[in-house]
């Protein structure tokens, strides 16, 4: 019996969040701009025709004017809150959840196979739409890789009505579908890899599925072999395990002994955050959001289970261990419940951007130069003298900066003074 793993994501997440609180944006072309209004990071379907992803905004302003495209500054506080809502709602549909990014998560629905999963998927869509106003797509497959592709089909092909379950297609139907998908759509196959595969005659997802896994492993890596097996319905990637995706940095660990108290959890979270921050700086990136999660072991019977994760929007993109730790710890405090045996904790840095491309605001101190120097010194010392030689002691830190965000919507859900005003 093959598994049923679902990938659920919010369609055009940032734009959809904006539309919930501003119904006038419905049906209109909308883009959301990155930090300091640098480039387009999210587009409504209507805007996708005109604006490429990541387009530097100043180059497209004229087209935007001609097409009457509405540009908004990113409102990360809103997106983080809406993300947390969506993830909690989705968690009601299966206890086995991996929050994979701000707008997508995996759910293991194998235990729900006695239900009609297409219908279950529609229930998921309906509940998220009613409770949050956000549209989601549901893709189901025997492996994570297939779930991702099913989600792609659910979104792009109207006939699926937002829910696509590969397990309910006949093998020939599925293969016909996979033959129409470009190999670059496969999770973990990047653009470069897709070019390489095509020189070998592997153009479609079906070509890759039918390729010899052993041969590809020798040519590429174990990851490629796993991808091929996953395409053939053999689940190789468990929930919580991700392929090398540099769009986010994870640092987590299962505890040898269950941890119950806040202080120990705080220590581990600080440690994982500083390790993730090192990785972040090593690839010259800054993170705009971070997610902290804690959970008990789901495998210990008879013990109370608690697990939670929280997405936090940083006031600005940062690679400063001190800033990241501070926000990670305050997220932990919000989630921590005493009286549980915690088995695992972790942190994910996400919404990464290249540090060099970070827009500086002329009138506000961005991440100051000293912070960069300090972090370099810490990294050098820790590299030569061993990891964690230098650690943070204080986190007292406040910066009253303000980004340039000319078109930012109000913080509808996180500031009393900015909630909708209705007559």
């Amino acid at each position: 019996m093959s598994r049923s793993i679902a990938l659920i994501d919010v369609n055009n997440f940032y734009v959809s969040c904006e539309r919930v609180f501003n119904p006038k944006l419905a049906g209109k072309p909308v883009v959301v701009l990155s930090n300091n209004d640098g480039c387009a990071v999210a587009r409504s379907n209507e805007a996708k025709l005109h604006i490429p992803m990541g387009a530097p905004w100043f180059k497209f302003q004229q087209i935007a004017n001609e097409q009457q495209i509405i540009a908004l500054s990113s409102n990360y506080a809103l997106y983080a809150d809406m993300s947390n809502r969506v993830m909690r709602i989705l968690n009601q549909f299966s206890p086995d959840q991996e929050v994979y990014s701000i707008d997508e998560c995996f759910l293991d629905l194998t235990g729900f196979q006695h239900l009609d999963l297409l219908q279950y998927g529609q229930q998921i869509r309906h509940r998220v739409a009613q409770w949050t106003g956000l549209p989601v797509s549901v893709g189901i497959g025997a492996s994570k890789t297939l779930a991702k592709l099913a989600n792609h089909c659910a979104k792009k092909r109207a006939e699926f009505d937002g829910v696509c379950d590969f397990n309910q297609l006949s093998p020939s139907q599925l293969n016909r579908l996979l033959a129409e998908l470009d190999v670059g759509e496969v999770w973990g196959v990047g653009r470069k890899l897709a070019v390489k595969l095509k020189t070998q005659g592997i153009y479609s997802v079906l070509d890759l599925k039918q390729a010899n896994a052993e041969t590809l492993r020798r040519q590429y890596s174990v990851v490629m072999e796993k991808i091929v097996r996953e395409l053939n319905g053999i689940s190789c990637l468990e929930l919580e395990y991700a392929i090398t995706d540099k769009k986010q940095i994870l640092s987590s660990r299962s505890f040898g002994i269950p941890v119950t108290d806040m202080n120990s959890l705080a220590e581990s979270i600080s440690l994982y955050t500083s390790r993730a921050a090192v990785k972040l700086r090593r690839q010259y990136s800054v993170a705009r959001m971070l997610q902290v999660y804690i959970r008990c072991s789901p495998y210990r019977s008879g013990e109370a289970f608690y697990g939670n994760s929280l997405m936090v929007a940083l006031p600005m993109a940062s690679d400063d261990t001190r800033v990241l730790v501070k926000h990670a710890l305050s997220a932990l405090k919000k989630m921590y419940q005493p009286g549980f045996n915690y088995a695992k904790a972790g942190i994910m840095l996400t919404e990464l951007q290249p540090k060099s491309g970070q827009q500086q605001d002329l009138f506000a101190p961005n991440q100051d130069a000293k912070s960069g120097q300090l972090m370099t010194v810490i990294d050098v010392i820790n590299n030569t003298m061993g990891r964690d030689t230098l650690q943070l002691a204080n986190q007292g830190f406040k910066r009253p900066w303000k980004m340039k965000q000319e078109h930012k919507s109000p913080s509808y859900t996180t500031k009393w003074g900015e909630v909708l005003t209705v007559s």
Partner: protein, 202 residues
């Protein structure tokens, strides 16, 4: 001069503090309640052990708690100290009242908005009040709803006209506010149901 015999006065054999007495300092006699005798005896035994410990002039090294991997249970009292009654209130400890709990049913589906204007004052919604909007509830006729009409938000009472088309009624006796009739071609959506409100005076 007579030589006095040693039979009277002076030193008596066996008198005085015994050699090797356990207490190596002057002592005194006090009366204690009989019931407390074991407590005092135990205390003195402990005191003697401490006195006889070597390296007395060294600074005292306190025993450090070991961060034990496994939980160890330490006896709270070893003996002779009667534990008190368990507090009769222990079984009645409850969570302190939480206004969130009172106002919110489904946290994930709940949003707040600020009331503007006087159209709903007869339903108790004053300007500046925060209204609680729950999207998980299905709206019924008679509910206060946050609706979207042609792209604009409004809070009104949900009603129906004779033809069954939705109407949005104000809640203000002055007659200053007109009902909103939803006609074909108008964009209409119920965003959520208003389930409560709150305000501060100070």
């Amino acid at each position: 001069m007579t030589t006095r015999s040693n039979t009277h006065g002076g030193r008596r054999v066996g008198a005085g503090r015994k050699k090797g007495s356990v207490i190596k300092e002057p002592t005194t006699v006090i009366r204690i309640p009989e019931s407390q005798k074991p407590v005092i005896t135990d205390f003195l035994a402990a005191y003697r052990r401490r006195q006889s410990a070597p390296l007395q002039d060294q600074p005292m090294e306190f025993e450090r708690p070991i961060i034990a991997p496994a939980k160890r249970s330490w006896p709270l009292f070893s003996s002779k100290v009667a534990a008190g009654f368990p507090s009769p209130a222990d079984e009645h400890v409850e969570k302190r009242l939480d206004p969130n709990e009172f106002l919110i049913d489904d946290e994930e589906a709940t949003f707040f908005v600020t009331i503007q204007g006087y159209s709903m004052i007869d339903s108790g919604l004053l300007p500046g009040d925060k209204a609680v909007v729950d999207r998980s509830k299905n709206a019924s006729i008679g509910d206060i709803v946050l609706a979207v009409v042609d792209g604009e938000f409004t809070i009104k009472l949900l009603a129906k006209n004779k033809q069954g088309a939705p109407r949005l009624l104000p809640s203000n006796q002055s007659g200053e506010y007109r009902p909103i009739e939803i006609k074909d071609g108008m964009q209409f959506e119920i965003w959520g149901v208003v389930t409560g409100s709150f305000r501060r005076f100070k």
